[in-house]
Every structure is written in C-alpha cells, then in structure tokens.
Symmetry: C2
C-alpha cells in the first residue's frame, strides 16, 4: 500500500482517486507527506470492538483505511442514535479537543491510520494546506449531518430505509456492479439493529420495511445482507429526496 493510500483523506493524487464523493483532490506536496509519514502508525480492530468510548481521552486523530466504523451517542436510559458512519478515507477525531464526544465502534474488521495528535496539530499549524483540506472535509460532513437531520425529523420509515440503502449503494458503486444493466449489488455492512440506530427506528420496523421494499420489487435480497437493486432510480424515488445529489454520509 503506497504512502498516498494511507493519506487519501488528507492528500491524494488526482489520477487514480479511489475515493468517491470526496474527490477534492489536493496537490501532493512531498514534504507534507513525508512529515505525516513520520508521525503515523496503524491500528487494527475486530468487528464489534469499541475503539473509543465517549468521554475518553483521545490523543490521536485517524483516517479509516479499510472497514467500517460508527459514531454513536447514548442516553442514560440506553436509547442510542448513530450520528456518523465512517467508511474508508473518512476522518475521525478533532484537533483541539481532548476527549471524544461519541463512542466509536468497529462494525467490521477495521484498519485505521492514526496520527498522534500533538505532532499532527503542530503540522497543521505550520501547513495551511492541511487545515484547509480538513475544513473542506468537515464542511462535507456537516452537510451530510444536516441531510441526515431532514431524514430523522421528517421522513417515513420506508423513506429512511430507502435513503440508507441508496447512500450505501452510492458509496460502494464502482466497486460492485450488478450483472443486469443498471442494477447494483452490495452487502449491507450493518445489522438491522445498527440500521435502526442510524435511522431513529426500531429493528423490527427496519426488518418490516426491508420486507416491504422486497415485496414491492424495489430491492431483492440474497440471504439477510446481500442486496440487489435492479433499478437504482426506483430506489432513490422511494427515498423522497428532491435532488439525487450530494449525499455524502
């Protein structure tokens, strides 16, 4: 894995950009990369493992290399809301804050590329480029969070499910294309319960709505997790979005 791959979220080459929807390519500046290279290290986690507990001291920032992680908030009585889904290339952690604000959990086996916070912050201070790139990424995440607020506040259960499926499909697209023209195939990286926590529903409702979408021919399932979308536009229509646009997760 080349140096650039580890740092995709901070600076990557335009040529063979492996990251969709993050395609704000930065000029690769060799010395920045070299310096980042010096302060980075890798960590692996198993599926289900909690990476950071909300409130924990957090002395690194990181970017997801492979696998999927989630950010969740929990109320005292146990109600849970997922507030972020971290796919490869996504960034975790916040320069200038001591403790984590959310639980971060690996939902699949996961590899993260970590940077110790202190040196990372020092680099940021001396390298305007990085702060700007990070600002852009954060603004994208903010847009995604606000899109999600619309979903949580106003969409029906069916629309919520369709939205989630189309988001996952979009992030996966290009990797896996279905056999039939225009069809899309992917594996759900989340359990029904995790989907429920993301969508502000119960797992029973998630299950029922998936069954309903299947009955109506919007999706097909193989097993519990393998999804086939014969007609992506039909799915998007179920999601109730006015634009097909910039969902970023």
């Amino acid at each position: 894995m080349a140096i650039h791959h580890d740092l995709t979220s901070l600076a990557h080459e335009c040529a063979d950009c492996p990251i969709r929807h993050r395609a704000v390519c930065a000029r690769c500046e060799a010395d920045e990369l070299a310096r980042l290279e010096q302060i980075k290290y890798y960590r692996s986690y198993q599926a289900g493992q909690t990476i950071i507990w909300s409130g924990d001291r957090m002395d690194f920032v990181a970017s997801v290399v492979t696998g999927i992680a989630t950010l969740t908030q929990t109320m005292e009585d146990g109600r849970r809301q997922m507030v972020g889904l971290l796919l490869p290339s996504d960034f975790v952690g916040r320069p200038g804050r001591l403790t984590a604000a959310y639980d971060v959990t690996a939902t699949t086996d996961l590899v993260m590329c970590c940077f110790r916070k202190k040196p990372f912050e020092e680099m940021m201070a001396s390298t305007p480029h990085i702060a700007q790139r990070l600002l852009e990424m954060t603004l994208d995440e903010l847009d995604a969070a606000r899109e999600w607020m619309l979903l949580l506040g106003r969409k029906t259960a069916r629309e919520k499910i369709a939205s989630l499926l189309s988001i996952i499909a979009r992030r996966d697209v290009g990797l896996k294309k279905g056999p039939a023209q225009g069809s899309i195939v992917f594996d759900l990286p989340l359990t029904r319960e995790e989907m429920a926590d993301y969508l502000g529903l119960t797992l029973e409702t998630v299950s029922r709505q998936i069954s309903a979408l299947k009955k109506d021919g919007v999706i097909e399932l193989e097993g519990k997790r393998h999804i086939i979308v014969p007609n992506f536009d039909a799915l998007v229509e179920q999601a109730g979005d006015d634009n097909d646009g910039g969902f970023l997760v």
Copy 2:
C-alpha cells in the same frame, strides 16, 4: 460598534468575550483584521425575509451581527426541517462552494456582516490562522448537528421542547437574568411553527407540550413568547441529556 465586534466569529478579544460557548479566543492579529475590514460590507434584512434560497448562487460568506436566521431544508411535498439556527456571531456560507445548500431566512430583523467570497478565500489561503479558526467553528457546528440528530431520532416531544428551550436559554444567558435567584428569563425568537420545524414535530404538538411544561411548573409564560424558567436544572432534566454540557446550536 468596534471593528472586533463585526468579526467576533473569526477573531475576538478574550477580555470581554461577548459570546458564550464559542469561547475559543484567537489572538487578534492586526493585519488580518485590517484586511478583513477592507472586504467586508453589511446587509440588513427584515423579519421573515428569505436571505438565500437553496440552490442560489452564493458569492459571499457572512457572520451574523444581530438578529436570528435559520437554515431549512424542504422536500418536494412541503415537509420542512430546520437544520441550523444562526445566532449572533455564527457563520454562514462555505468557502469553496458555489451554491447554497439550504434556504436561509431571517426570523427576526437581522444584520449580517458579509465578506465577498473570492477575496475571503484568497485571504484564507494566505492566512492559516483563519482556516484554523473556521475549522474549529465548523467542528463545533458538526458536534451541534450530531447532538441534534440524537434529539430528532430518539427524544420524545417533551424532551425535544425542553432541549430547545434550554439551548436558547443557554445562548441568551448573561444577557437576561430573572429576578428570582437562579431563574432565567428570555423571549422565544421562534414561532411555534418554526420550533416544530426545528424539532421534527407539528406546531400543535409543540403548543401542547409547552402547555404541559407550564402546567407542571417547569416553565412560566407571559404572553406567548416570554418564558420564565424558575429552575434551570429542572428544565435540563426534562431534556433528557446526560451531560449538561456543550450544546452549541
């Protein structure tokens, strides 16, 4: 109004910081301020006026000086979700994007301090300080958005109302203190319908829950908008938050 006041959100003095919960004070750097001073201008809006429509070309970024604005998203069928509340010192607009992603509306009479985007971006490129400050503010907003996701996805109507009231109270605190020890007094800057759009409820439910909180002695009303909170902790308890902490709106 001194120069610093106009630029509170970008750089303000620590001494008499008028802004709560944004208190990450930056060193005032005279030349930055002078340059910002050259590219800024003011705009006033009347209550109810739409400042920007989603999709409009947006050639400025701005910071709220006085008054309150909202960010809302609307679905084709008219369902609306407010995704941000802009109080004095809050920042609107995003460097590096051509069009607005949300409707921005003045809910009270409003004055904004605008910076034409092009020169602002140029300044940002040459002044690392500003990008970093903006990054910090954006991260705060992201945290607030995620806190709001928990509210939208998992809280009951009563908890939603109590949360909103305590957020408004927190941002207003210091300006108005109630007569009785520990009591807080403020005016609601939003109509019931706007509150409903923020909370993912209907205006009827908002009205009912406010009545319920009043009946239970958690709040008192004078007229429709003037709120007295005799015991702030009691209100926070109704909000169901585990920490009394960093709600930022």
